[in-house]
Each structure stands twice: as C-alpha cells, then as structure tokens.
Assembly symmetry: C2
DNA sequence: TAGCCTCTTGACTGATCGGTCAAATAAAGT
DNA sequence: ACTTTATTTGACCGATCAGTCAAGAGGCTA
C-alpha cells in the first residue's frame, strides 16, 4: 500500500470497476481501461501482473465498498426481517444510481463477472465464490435470529434457506441486467424475498 | 432428400452451442468454432454474416431443442404442481448430462449469454428476452391452473409470480455455473420453487 | 550533489481477433 | 452436354489483443 502521488493503482481499479461492471470482462480491453484512466500501459503492468489480477483487485475493492451497506442493513439491533427489507431498498437504490451513471442496468458485478469468467479463470471464480459466501452469511445470521425470535421453525435449515434467498436475489439482478429494467426489481424483490424466507407473523417479542 | 450433403450450417450451429455454452461468447473465437467444426472460415461467412448471427442462430436452435422438454413437463393433462416438479427433475438431469459431457456445470445457456452480451449487442439481448418470455408463459399457465383448482388465491398475480419463480430458477443455475456444482441445485431447486409458488397443499422444509 | 528507488513513458512484440475475397469445386437444373 | 447456382478453400486484411522492455523522470535520503 504505497502512497503514490497520483495513486495510479487506485485510479486503474476504479476505472476497471466502472468498465467491467458495465460491459463485462472480455469486452473491455486493457488499452481501454488505460485510456479511460489516463494511464500508460507500462504503468498498468507496473502495478498489475495481468488483466486478471486487476479484475480480482477490482472485485475486492467493490466488495469492500459494499460492505458498509451490508453491515448497516444487517446490524444485529435491527429486527431480522427488516434487515432484508433494508437490503432490498438499498440495493435497488444502488442499482438506480449505477443505471443513471452508466446509462444501463448492470446487475450484480460479482455474479455477472463470475458467470462469464468462472470457466476461464479459477482465481476470478474463487474470488466470486468468496464474496458470495460472505454475503450469504449475513442472510444466515438473520435467519438464525428469526428462528430465535420464533418467526421460523426451530428445525429450519438456515444454510439452505440462505442459499435460496441468495439465488432469488441474484436471479432478479441478472434478469434486470438482461432486460435493462429496474421495474421488476422494484415490484418483486422484497415480496419474493419474504416469500422465500417464509416467516410467520411474530406473535410475541 | 439426399442427406449426403455436409450441412455445414448445422454443424457450425451445433459446435457454437457447445463452445459458447461452456466458455461464453467472447471467450470463443470464430477460428476456434471453425476448427472444432472442421469448417474453413470462408464457409463460415458464407452461411453467417457475422459471429453474432451465428450466436443468435445457436440460441434459436438450442431453444427449439429444449421446447419438447418444456411441452412435455407443462402438458395440460399433468397436475400443475407436478409440472414444476418435472421441470426441476428434467432440468437437473439435463445439467448433469451437460456437465459430464463438457467437464463442467454450465447453467442456463440463454441467461449466461444474455448477461454477458446484453450490453454489447441488442439482437442477442432481444433473443434472450424472447426465449425467457416464452419460458415464463409455461409457468404462468401452470399458475393459472393452480388458481383454477383452488390451490392458489383467486387474486394471485400470476405474471409477477411467474417472474419470481423464473428469477429463482435462473439464480440457482447461475450459482451452479459459478460454483461448478450441481449439489445445491439438487437440494434446493424443487423446494425453493414450491416455496415461491406458495400453493396450499405442498409444504417445503 | 549523488545515489537510489518508485513510477512513468512510448515504442514494440507476436498472436489473435472478426471479417474479406477470388478462385476452385461440387451440385443441380436445363 | 452446358449453364447456373451453391459451397468450399486458403490466402489475406487491418485492427486489436495482452503483455514487454529499456530508458527516463521525479522524489527521497545520505
């Protein structure tokens, strides 16, 4: 973490997030990233041994940037069901901002990149998996808390249920990217998540 | 009907389905497709004006090949809930065969290709959307039949529910591709679908 | 001021990209 | 047979791909 005057490394990562999130990995060239970052290619390869390494660094950065949102939404002093609601609202808001900035709906950067590159590059696949698993743990903890407060049966398989919730959310985001529309997300995300959670009404506190 | 003709066009389409389903669109070159099909590049461009046109033709062919499976599963004389069950079983079986043949889990060819290429090429995006909508109609009809038999409330928004079911299935398939594993599909697909359907009879853990 | 280290620059590589073309060949119609 | 059309071939194109490299610029410390 050397502190550079221009901080070229950071600029390259931020540019990569923008371009790859929009267009995907293969559709964005190193030259294009360099041009957008106003960085010469020799500098690029001074900081990153390969294009893949930049992509992985970009995934890490994007993940670290999204963490506070997750931590806030899934804060343990928020009622567990409301955590999912907050995630849906914040996520939709984030998608709206990105869509406005980039000119199109982009969906989940990790899953989009993972689905494209998983067969080609194991380091990208593993990084995707790592980030996904980290997200699922938020869901799992919220489900555990739902069980504890009696909103879900005691024998609930929280890991499996967390997987299903995650699959649904990712499916919604992939469809939003393909259809280039946020409307279904706004209509279906929260209700679908709640349906998948399947909590009963909390009777007593 | 002399079948002795080489049917180069068909060979190219079949090869494209194989390679693109595995590796994605951008990661497969025209040269690679030609080599695997044992077709010279001049012949390729005799039958297809561009790589994109081949991809769209491949999507059409793959869709037509999958239609009988859908028609059989969603036959109107099958009880509506069982239709989803059959789809899950047949779909999982299909994924198993493909994974064995290709050496890795590939997920849904249409959504994988659509997510990668939607921002780059509108014809691919539209073809993806068309196929997706066609699939959703099977779900929608089954939901209508569930309403009619009283397993779902009369005021059910079947279009929205069909969207949610579809999102969940696609999410599961994308995750299977990224994780290169069919295990979650086998464990979660049917129960998750039923949970999302929310019909009265069936209960999922 | 000199030496050192980090970073930058721009020209360069060989491979590969999607796509073109004219000519050769095969097939089909008359 | 002859003509027309459909298909195949292999060489070829300019652009672009990811990645390399030697030389230089700039700042830091001794």
């Amino acid at each position: 973490m050397t502190k550079t005057k221009r901080n070229t490394r950071k600029i390259l990562i931020d540019t990569a997030i923008d371009l790859i999130w929009q267009a995907g990995y293969s559709s964005v060239s190193v030259d294009e990233i360099c041009k957008n970052a106003d960085v010469r290619k020799g500098s690029f390869y001074h900081f990153f041994p390969s294009k893949v390494d930049l992509a992985v660094a970009a995934m890490d950065k994007a993940f670290q940037e999204f963490r506070p949102i997750m931590d806030e939404a899934f804060s343990s002093n928020r009622p567990p069901l409301e955590r999912f609601e907050k995630l849906a609202n914040d996520g939709l808001e984030s998608q709206k901002m990105v869509a406005e900035q980039y000119g199109r709906v982009c969906g989940c950067p990790f899953v989009t990149l993972g689905a494209e590159m998983a067969p080609q590059d194991e380091t990208i696949r593993l990084k995707t998996d790592e980030i996904i698993n980290h997200h699922k743990q938020y869901y799992e903890q919220a489900l555990i808390d739902l069980v504890q407060e009696g909103s879900l049966p005691a024998d609930t398989d929280v890991k499996t249920k967390a997987n299903k919730i995650h699959s649904f959310i990712m499916g919604q985001l992939v469809m939003a990217r393909i259809q280039n529309s946020l409307e279904p997300l706004g209509n279906e995300l929260i209700t679908g998540m709640f349906r998948m959670i399947g909590a009963k009404e909390k009777v007593a506190a």
